[in-house]
């Protein structure tokens, strides 16, 4: 059902209800009138008839009853019956409307109740009568009663009422559509307004109402249209403001996000503490450095969340002060039972923009300087180690040369011993310095492998024979097993010589007296393998892969007896890795050690590409 038809229907229904109500009231009024008439007329007539002698009311035989006159002269359509009864209630004379039987009735014996009215049910059928009764006298004696009955009016109407009702309802029926049409005409502009309101949801469709007003609505419509126009202008202005705000909001969000992203990427923990001493910003690094969830400390004072007593004075530095200087402190902490971290706390005042005299909080930057400390410690350790390693042979050189000045003059044997020791120590110093320089260059990224295709047989044999020919190692049994026909291998000859040299030096140094030192090489489709083996003390499980760590020295007494720097194997490994090879060993304590170097055979152009 369309909404604009609803008023019409409501009007029709309302008109019908009005008509029904009017009908009801009309009939109710009519019925009450008839009841009053029956009661009034009845009691009047009873009084009138009661004033006449009894024998006048009861006709002698062959005479007309007085009641008959009454019946004929009766104008009330509701008249039902009239009767004269004796004191015993027996009817002496009666007149009735056709079809009516006078119902039996009891009248009270007390004189006070002789005159009255009551409702009596008909002897047959549903009809009821309004009966009026009164006493009748004769010669001063009570002879009987007069009873007059009228039909009690029923509620409702008969066919005879239809024309009356139709006449009554017709104007209402005619007026309803007339009012409806008039109303529609008058309310048409309001309907337009309603439609415009409907379109308010779509501001683009809003336009001033085109008025076709009746005189009564003219002013209202003009004002309303003006209001709509003003509203539209206001909406447009608000929309514009909204767009601008959205744009600036997006820009602000973007800037905030960008700043936040930068601060989150910052390697240090950053904390902003406001004037009230509460944390107003914190980045994720705080969790790593201090072990606190950033989200859980925002808006809280330092003492409310910080359970590390050492850092509370650092974080609360400048709390409640209107001016402060930047401050830096470093503390060593163990967070959540992990390794000790060295944290540097830098506290900076945050000034109010354009006013350096007032601060609005402070910025705390917490930096993990453990690595720096570790690095410094390692550097110290390195320098300490190197100075020991350099000064120990120097010390020997110094002592022997000094002693030669006194002892050497007359002791030939001692002089030879001293010269040999001096020679060995110079060689030792030289090796140490070479290894140090190579390692230093490697660590600085200064070593670039200068590769060439190298014949392995010649290359390895050359290194090996240098050792085998040395008088110094004349007690060592050397064994070389390199196939003559081996593929060319693409390596840096000088660097590889250092690696092989170091392996052979170790094999000799940590061999048992008279033990064998052997070097072999073999080739497979994938690559070549070089093995340097000894029959010495071996490497125990405790030392394991640590032997490749720089400056590592075994705690084994036999090994400690030998001069070593903990550099040879570390350097050999770095050189092999530089050639994309691998180095490893197998060892059995007191039986010997076998070091393997495996190099892949790769076409030279691939090696070049890999190197670049």
């Amino acid at each position: 059902m369309q909404s604009n038809q609803r008023p019409g229907l409501i009007m029709i229904v309302a008109a019908l209800l009005v008509m029904l109500a009017m009908g009801y009231l009309l009939f109710d009024y009519e019925r009450n009138n008839r009841v009053e008439l029956a009661r009034g007329q009845g009691i009047d007539l009873v009084r009138l008839l009661g004033g006449m002698p009894f024998n006048q009311l009861v006709p002698a035989t062959g005479q007309q009853s007085f009641l008959e006159v009454l019946k004929r002269g009766q104008s009330n359509a509701d008249f039902a019956y009239g009767a004269i009864v004796d004191v015993g209630g027996q009817i002496s004379s009666e007149v009735t409307r056709s079809g009516v039987i006078i119902p039996p009735a009891t009248i009270a014996a007390e004189p006070a109740n002789w005159l009255g009215q009551h409702i009596v049910a008909a002897a047959t059928g549903d009809a009821r009568f309004i009966e009026s009764y009164g006493p009748v006298f004769q010669d001063g004696g009570h002879r009987g009663f007069v009873r007059l009955g009228y039909f009690e009016p029923e509620f409702g109407f008969g066919y005879g009422d239809v024309p009356f009702l139709a006449t009554l309802m017709l104007p209402i029926f005619l007026l309803v559509p007339l009012f409806y049409l008039l109303m529609r005409r008058e309310f048409k502009p309001l309907k337009q307004i309603s439609e415009r309101f409907g379109k308010l949801a779509d501001p683009a469709g809003l336009s001033p109402v085109e008025l076709q007003p009746t005189a009564e609505l003219s002013d209202f419509m003009a004002q309303f249209s003006g209001y709509i126009e003003a509203t539209q202008n206001r909406i447009e202005a608000l929309n514009k403001q909204h767009e601008e705000l959205q744009m600036s909001g997006k820009l602000l969000t973007y800037r905030n996000n960008r700043i936040d992203a930068i601060l989150q990427k910052f390697p240090d923990a950053i904390m902003v503490i406001d004037e009230a001493g509460e944390v107003s910003y914190v980045n994720d690094k705080t969790h790593r450095l201090l072990g606190v969830e950033p989200g859980s400390i925002l808006g809280k004072k330092i003492r409310e969340w910080c359970n590390i007593p050492e850092i509370i004075p650092l974080l609360t530095f400048g709390d409640g002060k209107s001016a402060m200087q930047a401050n830096q402190n470093t503390v060593d902490l163990r967070i959540h039972g992990e390794d000790v971290s060295s944290l540097q706390f830098n506290v900076y005042p945050l000034f109010i923009p354009n006013d350096d005299s007032r601060i609005l909080g402070r910025l705390v930057v917490i930096r993990d300087v453990s690595e720096n400390h570790l690095m410094r410690e390692r550097q110290n350790e390195f320098i300490s180690h190197i100075s020991h390693e350099l000064k120990t042979p120097l010390n020997v050189l110094s002592m022997y040369s000094e002693s030669l000045l006194t002892e050497g003059a007359d002791n030939e044997e001692y002089r030879i011993e001293a010269v040999n020791v001096i020679h060995d120590e110079v060689e030792r110093l030289s090796n140490l310095i070479n290894n140090l320089l190579a390692i230093n260059q490697y660590e600085l990224g200064g070593i670039v492998a200068q590769r060439d295709n190298v014949r392995m047989h010649e290359f390895l044999e050359d290194i090996f024979s240098g050792f085998a020919r040395s008088k110094k190692y004349q007690n060592v049994e050397f064994d070389l097993d390199i196939p003559h026909e081996m593929s060319l291998v693409y390596i840096d000859k000088d660097l590889f010589r250092i690696a092989i040299n170091n392996l052979l030096t170790n094999a000799i140094k940590y061999n048992r007296p008279g033990g064998r030192v052997s070097m072999s090489a073999s080739e497979s489709p994938d690559g070549i393998e070089i093995v340097v083996a000894d029959e010495g003390y071996g490497i125990d499980q405790e030392d394991g892969q640590q032997v490749f760590n720089k400056f590592f020295r075994s705690t084994n007494e036999n090994i400690r007896k030998q001069v070593g720097h903990g550099l040879g194997l570390s350097l050999a490994k770095q050189i092999v890795l530089m050639h994309h090879g691998e180095i490893d060993f197998t060892s059995e304590v007191d039986k010997g050690t076998r070091f393997f170097i495996r190099l892949e055979k790769m076409p030279s152009h691939i090696m070049d590409a890999a190197a670049s």
Partner: protein
């Protein structure tokens, strides 16, 4: 005779020092590590201990601490041969009395003079 114990893991150093000091009339015993030296000293405290710092099993610093702890009434002199001169590497020695550092390379003559200032090498113990 003044008795000297030398602890050093460098056999050449032990050899030269022993030879030179014995020639000057001192009684010299040598140890290749701190632990042996400590055991020897505990058994029979010497008049002088000459020790290197970096040694296997027990280094020179630990040796000195152990001596200080186990022989609080010690009177004998300790010479520590060191490669480093920085004060921070010598701080540990503050707790130990009668201790002197000798920087490497050590001059035998200088050492002899220092000993001579304290002892008559030929004096009986």
């Amino acid at each position: 005779m003044t008795r000297i114990v030398i602890a050093d893991d460098e056999p050449h150093v032990l050899r030269v020092l022993k030879m030179s000091l014995e020639k000057e009339g001192y009684s010299v015993e040598v140890c290749a590590n701190g632990r042996d030296a400590f055991e020897l000293i505990q058994r029979a405290p010497p008049d002088v201990l000459i020790t290197d710092i970096q040694m296997p099993l027990m280094d020179g610093e630990e040796l000195c601490r152990n001596i200080q702890q186990s022989i609080p009434e010690r009177k004998f002199l300790i010479f520590v041969l060191t490669s480093r001169t920085e004060i921070e590497h010598r701080q540990w020695s503050r707790e130990i009395s009668n201790l002197q550092f000798l920087e490497k390379p050590v001059s035998i003559r200088e050492l002899s003079e220092k000993l001579a200032r304290n002892f008559d090498s030929t004096a009986a113990d």
